[in-house]
């Protein structure tokens, strides 16, 4: 019978089988291993961990494989896994000043303690397709020399702070601990701790566009890339009965500190201000965009004129999450028969009324006219 549309269950099962087949592709081609994804698609893994809010390269690689390379879908898988995990410990704040640096650049100083370390960057590559990579075995590479030992160096902002030229690094505002928007729904206006959390989880593309808009005059923040650093930091926890923190491992993070010109306001003398970005792994573009947007969102607190999209905290924070956005955009695929039926009836009724001359004489739409 047409009406009941039975068979939805079987259809779903078949769709899932088809999906699995598509994911695997041609079985004559060897299947991707998680190790391959982790090793050779590491930036995808890093993005999925960052926006998925879970540092676990193995699970991120699995999510990428399962999502057929769709990173937003992979982020969703990781988030759905993460959401009900038990929380056993809270780590100490990581100390990026003690980072084992693999990359570190500053756009504000030509040279500085610890030096500029380019590290594994696309920055100065020529963007030419490398057809050698298309050949089997063409991707093998080795360094001419052993890589340098990771360096430890003070942060650029600490150098500026020494001269009192830059504002203090933000402190957790009047609370016992930083907020957590996955445990308490965010309320507006939001404090900076929650804003940073939302931005760290936020969609890279969205933040990139917003950050770019601040550079094109929609809420200028006069930024300098004070420092971008990437490398390993230790993860520490406090355990009852043991003196001092215990290191439980290392993770790689990317940190960006923007240094922004600030002309002063009614409450503040002119000085430099900070915008902050942090990601898991090596997500430099995201970290930079995040720092731009973080600084833009501080305009209100700094007494600046707030009129651009990037200043609008509710707009930025409510739309940054790609798991939320993706779900709601795509829910339009679900049936809306009932609502549509209601609209259908309404349109018909209104058309009938017009046909029946309810709107005759003088009730016609007026011309658009000046007096």
């Amino acid at each position: 019978m047409y009406v009941a549309v039975k068979g939805g269950e079987a259809a779903i099962e078949n769709a899932h089988k088809l999906l699995a087949e598509e994911r695997r592709g041609d079985t004559n081609v060897p299947e991707l291993s998680l190790e391959q994804i982790k090793q050779q698609m590491s930036l995808a893994v890093d993005r999925v961990m960052t926006e998925g809010s879970l540092h676990d390269p193995d699970l991120a690689a699995l999510a990428i494989k399962q999502a057929r390379g769709d990173l937003v879908e992979a982020i969703f898988l990781l988030r759905a896994y993460r959401t009900t995990l038990p929380r056993l410990w809270e780590t100490k704040p990581i100390d990026t000043g003690a980072m084992n640096i693999r990359r570190r650049i500053s756009a504000t100083y030509k040279d500085l303690p610890g030096g500029q370390v380019l590290g594994p960057t696309f920055d100065y590559t020529h963007r030419l397709l490398d057809f050698a990579l298309a050949a089997e075995g063409g991707g093998d590479a080795s360094l001419d020399a052993d890589p340098a030992e990771p360096v430890v160096a003070p942060r650029v902002t600490e150098l500026l702070a020494g001269e009192d030229l830059i504002e203090e690094a933000g402190a957790v505002p009047d609370k016992d601990a930083p907020g957590d928007l996955t445990r308490e729904p965010m309320e507006f206006p939001a404090d900076r701790d929650l804003r940073l959390q939302a931005l760290a989880r936020g969609d890279e593309g969205f933040l990139l566009a917003l950050g770019y808009s601040t550079q094109r005059g929609y809420g200028r923040t006069h930024p300098f890339a004070g420092e971008i650093r990437m490398g390993a930091v230790e993860i520490e926890i406090d355990i009852d009965g043991i003196d001092g923190p215990v290191t439980i491992g290392e993770i790689t993070v990317t940190e960006c500190e923007m240094v922004n010109q600030f002309m002063g306001s009614k409450t503040e003398p002119p000085k430099f201000t900070r915008g902050y970005g942090l990601t898991f792994g090596f997500c430099e573009r995201k970290a930079m965009a995040m720092a731009l947007v973080d600084r833009a969102l501080r305009g209100r607190d700094l007494g600046e004129e707030v009129d651009a999209p990037c200043h609008d905290e509710e707009f930025v924070l409510a739309h940054a999450d790609n798991v939320e956005a993706s779900g709601f955009v795509q829910h339009l695929k679900l049936p809306h028969y009932v609502d549509f039926q209601s609209e259908l009836e309404l349109v018909r009724k209104m058309r009938r009324e017009i046909e029946q001359g309810r709107w005759s004489d003088g009730e016609e739409a007026h011309d658009v006219a000046a007096e």
């Binding site: 047409y2 009406v3 009941a4 549309v5 039975k6 939805g8 269950e9 259809a11 779903i12 969703f76 988030r79 759905a80 993460r82 959401t83 009900t84 038990p86 928007l181 996955t182 445990r183 308490e184 729904p185 965010m186 309320e187 507006f188 206006p189 509710e314 409510a318 798991v323 939320e324 956005a325 993706s326 779900g327 709601f328 955009v329 795509q330 829910h331 679900l334 049936p335 809306h336 028969y337 009932v338 609502d339 039926q341 209601s342 609209e343 259908l344 009836e345 309404l346 018909r348 209104m350 009324e353 309810r358």
Partner: protein, 305 residues
């Protein structure tokens, strides 16, 4: 006609009962209690990512997960039907994560999760109706800012809502809102009934069942306690009106239920059938016959004159 199917699934023990951890369920229950205590008020809650996408019922699922127990009997409908894909998907999710009995019969269910409809048959005190809500804020499309709408609710500043209704009447001669038609709950909060058709609004008024609304992406839960007054907004001289159909259900002949229009061919042939498939099944089981069911195969009905 088939009997309502009822199944007893197997709980996959690798999941906690109802998927969510116990702390999360407690948090949801606290939000529900707050919502019940302040009828129509949107209580914030720390919505979790669910294995389904936002916009696909994550709010309703979390509310159901918060209230369901092993002895419950669950019915899930979408567009009034038990057999739409998303309803199936949500029902399967709960079978797998709870093992509860499921049913298609409105009368047999203790919890009914719904998207876009309220069942035709009256609900009872021992039932809970859980709505999936996309945009919980009835003022959202008049005023986009949460800080402003929150204040409007707090100050009962609802003039803007009537501006919208005024505008409908001025332009169309009647209030041109056919679904998500705003209501005032217990004489205080203006509330969005979720995108149910306004046809269903009177069913919310003084309903013996507890009505719970969950909006996952927007992180809000709200409620209508049993026997609470729910009034559709209107003007004294333009009272709330129910839509009517010229047709009866082609299958069961009902003239009082919400009818879906089914296109039968590309020549304009169509028929109208009950949106509530269980209601239609039950009527047919009791011997009601509609114009199309009487003949076999179906005769197409032409569009209403």
């Amino acid at each position: 006609m088939s009997q309502p199917s009822e199944t007893q699934g197997a709980w996959d023990p690798s999941y906690n009962f109802a998927f969510l951890d116990e702390q999360t369920k407690r948090m949801i229950r606290r939000a529900i209690l707050k919502a019940v205590a302040i009828p129509g008020y949107q209580a914030p809650f720390a919505s979790r990512e669910m294995p389904m996408p936002y916009g696909w019922g994550t709010g309703g699922i979390q509310v159901t997960a918060g209230v369901i127990g092993p002895d419950d009997v669950l019915k899930v409908i979408d567009q009034g039907s038990d057999d739409t894909t998303n309803a199936i998907s949500i029902r399967k999710f709960f079978v797998r994560t709870t093992g509860v009995r499921t049913t298609e019969s409105t009368g047999d269910a203790s919890i009914i999760q719904t998207r876009h409809r309220i069942p035709e048959s009256p609900l009872r005190e021992d039932q809970i109706l859980v709505y999936q809500v996309p945009i919980p804020e009835p003022l959202r499309f008049l005023e986009p800012r949460e800080t402003e709408t929150r204040q409007m609710h707090a100050l009962e500043d609802y003039g803007l809502m009537h501006v919208k209704l005024y505008e409908d009447i001025a332009r169309h001669g009647h209030i041109a809102t056919s679904y998500a038609y705003p209501v005032k709950v217990a004489g205080r909060y203006v509330m969005d009934p979720s995108p149910t058709p306004k046809f269903d609004n009177p069913k919310m008024d003084r309903c013996p069942a507890l009505q719970l609304f969950g909006a996952g992406r927007e992180k809000r839960i709200y409620a209508i306690p049993p026997y609470t007054e729910v009034k559709s907004l209107d003007f004294d001289d333009y009272p709330f009106e129910l839509p009517t159909w010229d047709a009866a259900c082609a299958l069961c002949g009902d003239t009082h239920s919400f009818l879906d229009e089914v296109i039968l061919d590309d020549a304009g042939g169509r028929m109208f059938v009950c949106s509530d498939t269980d209601h239609c099944r039950e009527r047919r089981a009791n011997g009601h016959v509609g114009p199309a069911a009487a003949a076999a195969p179906f005769e197409t009905m032409s569009a209403a004159p």
